[in-house]
């Protein structure tokens, strides 16, 4: 039997009082794709950062190809044949592909020799693995999928035998993700070892040979992918049975609450990000906006929430709301009955340094009901915060704790509690479960559906296609600032939405022949 490509023995790592990794042992066979799955904060990234030399383990040993290896920094990791593709790419945007690839691996003071060598090597790698990228393209002009390829090429150029990918599909379209997995397959065939970190069960099931599950810093199980199921993995991740599907009855849409006509948004750099869209949302329904991040969804939410300007017409309950100048701010929007769970809770939805109770009135802090003469009624706000936190099962239920000390899921619950309990007519909700653990996802989805059943209009934006498909009553797909089409989630499939997300409107080829309903929906559209 060959030695495992990677073997970790008894790895432990603590950050202050938090034990991020507890006595972790894992063995990855060469020439396989090994998945590591776990909730946010389970310790996946910490473990890989130890392997890549970013952190030093408090205890434990690392064996690479059977040899005990010390990895004090990333240089040592590269030397040991480990390459890492980060979730957020580490590329110099204004450099070309070639320049990025030799960055840090230049031999000698003059660049021309290493550039020439890299060009040859790149051509070779492209042929071998199907990793085609124009070596002279400037990074900022490349699509996200191609940028990721550059990261992989960077690792291969450094002779990586082991490739670690951290949440690689978070920024990709379904189609780009498919291409990535084809590349990974090819790499595996060539004998490379791949470690795939993800929280998406489907990716694990589709691509990996073995999978390790992490929970709260511990490795709870390592199993052959073929012998497990998504349900079992979810249970291992969370520690209890989890409902993977959203339980909901058919929507009962009433009158139109939100009506958008020819909305256009130009961002600060003068680029038109929303290019004339028409949408409507009725009371008692969830309209899901699908799309790859950066196709205008953020700007749409910002204009609706009152913190970006736009042109066009937006009516809420039949009354037009201003899109520029006075009355186009968050305060006016709240007064008009719009609540907003923003996409980025850490930069927008919460003030991280504020305590939880201060955050429970953020945006509504001018409400006369919480003033006590010239000062704010802090005691009253605290008492109410405690009740809200209990109702939304925020843990720990301590209103005096700063927002930054809660986990992502509990932070999101604080935002949700605040926005839902204002009893809005229209709820805008962006990336409701980004960075949220599975257990909390279930709860958050239930709350959103509950609000819909109370007859509220909900506009949902998410880059998680599964989430859009399972929550929405109607799905609109955004690409490059346009609405590419609208579908009934019960009568479409991920491939069709994936094409729309890539800007391809001719979806007849994938509107699954076996699923006549999808074709019907297409004809209607």
């Amino acid at each position: 039997m060959t030695a495992p490509a990677i073997e970790l023995k008894g790895i432990s790592k603590a950050f202050g009082p938090v034990q991020a990794n507890k006595d972790i042992s894992i063995s990855v066979q060469p020439g396989t794709i090994h998945g590591i799955i776990g909730e946010n904060g389970a310790g996946k990234s910490t473990l890989m950062s130890i392997l890549y030399g970013f952190y030093k383990a408090d205890a434990g040993e690392i064996f690479i190809k059977g040899q005990k290896t010390l990895i004090p920094d990333s240089q040592a990791a590269i030397k040991a044949g480990i390459g890492m593709v980060f979730q957020h790419f580490k590329l110099v945007e204004t450099f070309t592909v070639l320049e990025n690839i030799i960055l840090g691996a230049e031999d000698g003071a003059m660049l021309t020799t290493s550039l020439g060598k890299a060009r040859k090597e790149l051509k070779h790698l492209a042929e071998e693995y199907g990793l085609n990228v124009d070596p002279d393209a400037v990074i900022e002009n490349l699509s996200v999928g191609h940028q990721q390829r550059v990261e992989i090429l960077k690792a291969l150029y450094r002779k990586a035998e082991i490739l670690i990918l951290d949440e690689p599909t978070g920024v990709l379209t379904p189609d780009e993700a498919d291409q990535l997995f084809r590349i990974l397959d090819r790499l595996r065939e060539e004998g490379k070892t791949i470690v795939l970190i993800t929280h998406k069960l489907r990716e694990i099931m589709d691509t990996t040979d073995t999978v390790s599950v992490m929970r709260r810093g511990e490795m709870t199980a390592t199993v052959k992918t073929a012998n497990t199921s998504p349900e079992e993995l979810a249970e291992l991740m969370v520690g209890r049975k989890v409902l993977l599907r959203v339980d909901k009855v058919a929507a009962n849409p009433q009158e139109t609450v939100l009506n958008i006509r020819d909305l256009r948004v130009v961002d600060e750099k003068g680029v038109e990000r929303v290019k004339g869209i028409d949408l409507h949302v009725r009371a008692g329904e969830i309209l899901g906006i699908a799309g790859v991040a950066g196709n205008g969804q953020t700007e749409l939410l910002e204009v609706l929430g009152g913190f970006a300007h736009g042109t066009g017409v937006i009516e809420v309950n039949g009354a037009e709301i201003p899109l520029t100048g006075h009355g186009a701010d968050g305060q006016a929007r709240r007064a008009a009955g719009i609540s907003h769970v923003p996409e980025d809770r850490q930069r927008e939805g919460l003030i991280m340094e504020f305590s939880a109770w201060e955050n429970t009135v953020f945006g509504y802090h001018r409400d006369p009901a919480i003033q006590n003469g010239p000062v704010m009624d802090n005691a009253g706000i605290q008492a109410e915060a405690q009740e809200k936190m209990d109702r939304f099962d925020v843990r720990p239920p301590n209103p005096k704790l700063a927002a930054k000390n809660f986990s992502g899921g509990n932070q999101q619950k604080i935002v949700l509690a605040r926005e839902i309990e204002r009893n809005p007519d229209l709820l805008l909700i962006g990336q409701p479960t980004r960075g949220v653990d599975i257990g909390a996802i279930e709860f958050i989805h239930q709350q959103i559906v509950k609000l819909r059943d109370q007859g509220k209009a909900i506009l949902l934006v998410s880059v998680e296609l599964e989430e859009i498909m399972s929550l929405s009553d109607r799905v609109a797909v955004m690409f490059d600032g346009h609405i590419m089409g609208e579908r009934d989630p019960a009568q479409t499939n991920e491939r069709e939405l994936g094409l729309l997300m890539a800007g391809i409107t001719d979806t007849s080829a994938v509107a699954d022949a076996g699923d006549g309903a999808a074709e019907e929906a297409l004809n209607d559209g």
């Binding site: 202050g16 009082p17 968050g330 991280m352 000062v375």
Partner: protein
């Protein structure tokens, strides 16, 4: 979980920083052949042991309280107002105009009028950089620095060309009328048998500064405006989401900051010199930055830090008077305190945090 208890953050860390600063100051004093223990004794004796010494210490502390609060309020909105010096100078102009051109029947009314004058002029001087920051994105650090120079030049012009009494040789305004003279601590606390605070400049403005401390605390931690200022300071994107206007908060926070800095002049110009002179601020606007840093931008911390710097100023003056330690070295000692309490805060903080975490782990 916070990394360490609040008392450690507020008391322990500044204390350790202070001891480090004292240690290195002692080395410096040793290096020039003086005895650091003697020097410290002299400082304490001169600044704290006699009421006259306290009279100076508290006089300086009053200045630092106002400028320290000014820096703190702006800093809660993440605005680094280093224009306290200029705002205080222009505030002095406001005091002078109010005292010279309005006939006041009694000092108690005059101090209110002068405070309003100082606050308005100081705020006005902060308004221009604030407006440029809010509307045009001109960095407030750059503009407030430049406005310090403009303020000095403007004051020079006004004193020489406009306010200087006919025939006077020095660039200063006329003496303020007697009705505007503020009671000093000597007037207030001396009895026939026991004179107190003799000759010291501390005056009733100190209590005004204390009141300002309380009001700033209420403003920042209790009012809606303070909530918005803090929210904006922590996250501008968050503020936008909540519908808090960045322009409004930037301008309002700087107006309050400028007003506080300006009010320092009530202490110096009205309480001490009783006329407007050049350079009555003596760098207190800059010391305010160190005071705010050391006081963690909390009014109570600012209060303690202001007293400490008052002590350093007065004790330093005593050293220069009685020993061969030159005046410049006093500035070195003050700089060391600023360096350790302000700039090198993290050097002390991280090890202390580690100790607390280790202790907690052992206990659980």
């Amino acid at each position: 979980m916070d990394k360490m208890p609040k008392w450690a953050d507020i008391v322990l860390i500044p204390l350790i920083s202070l001891l480090l600063a004292a240690f290195f100051s002692a080395l410096v004093i040793l290096a020039i052949g003086e005895n650091p223990i003697e020097a410290l004794k002299l400082m304490i004796d001169g600044a704290l042991m006699r009421s006259a010494g306290w009279g100076y210490t508290l006089y300086y502390a009053t200045n630092f309280l106002f400028t320290g609060l000014a820096v703190s309020v702006a800093f809660h909105a993440r605005l680094f107002n280093i224009g306290g010096e200029g705002q205080a100078m222009i505030g002095g102009l406001g005091v002078a105009l109010v005292c010279l051109y309005i006939p006041w029947p009694h000092w108690s009314l005059a101090i209110l009028g002068a405070s309003v004058g100082a606050a308005c002029f100081g705020a006005l001087w902060a308004l221009i950089p604030a407006y440029f920051q809010a509307k045009r994105g001109s960095h407030i650090v750059i503009t407030t620095i430049m406005f310090n120079f403009i303020a000095a030049a403007l004051l020079n012009y006004v004193l020489v060309e406009l306010l200087r009494p006919v025939g006077a040789m020095d660039p200063a305004s006329a003496k303020f009328p007697a009705a505007t003279h503020l009671p000093s601590f000597q007037d207030m606390f001396s009895t026939a048998e026991t004179p107190m605070f003799r000759g010291a400049p501390a005056n009733v403005t100190f209590f005004l500064a204390m009141a300002a401390c309380v009001l700033v605390w209420v403003l920042i931690w209790r009012t809606r405006l303070g909530y918005e200022i803090r929210a904006f300071g922590q996250s501008e994107t968050g503020a936008k989401y909540a519908g808090i206007s960045p322009v409004k908060i930037t301008v309002v926070a700087m107006l309050i900051s400028g007003a506080l800095a300006g009010m320092m002049s009530v202490n110096t110009t009205m309480g001490e010199t009783e006329r407007l002179i050049l350079n009555s601020t003596e760098g207190a606007g800059f010391i305010g930055i160190a005071v705010a840093l050391m006081g963690r931008n909390h009014p109570f911390g600012v209060f303690l830090a202001a007293i400490l710097f008052g002590f350093l100023y007065q004790g330093g003056a005593e050293l220069a008077l009685w020993t061969s330690i030159p005046r410049e070295l006093i500035v070195v000692i003050q700089a060391l305190v600023i360096l350790f309490t302000g700039a090198l805060d993290n050097m002390v903080r991280e090890p202390v945090e580690k100790i607390f975490i280790a202790m907690r782990r052992r206990n659980t």
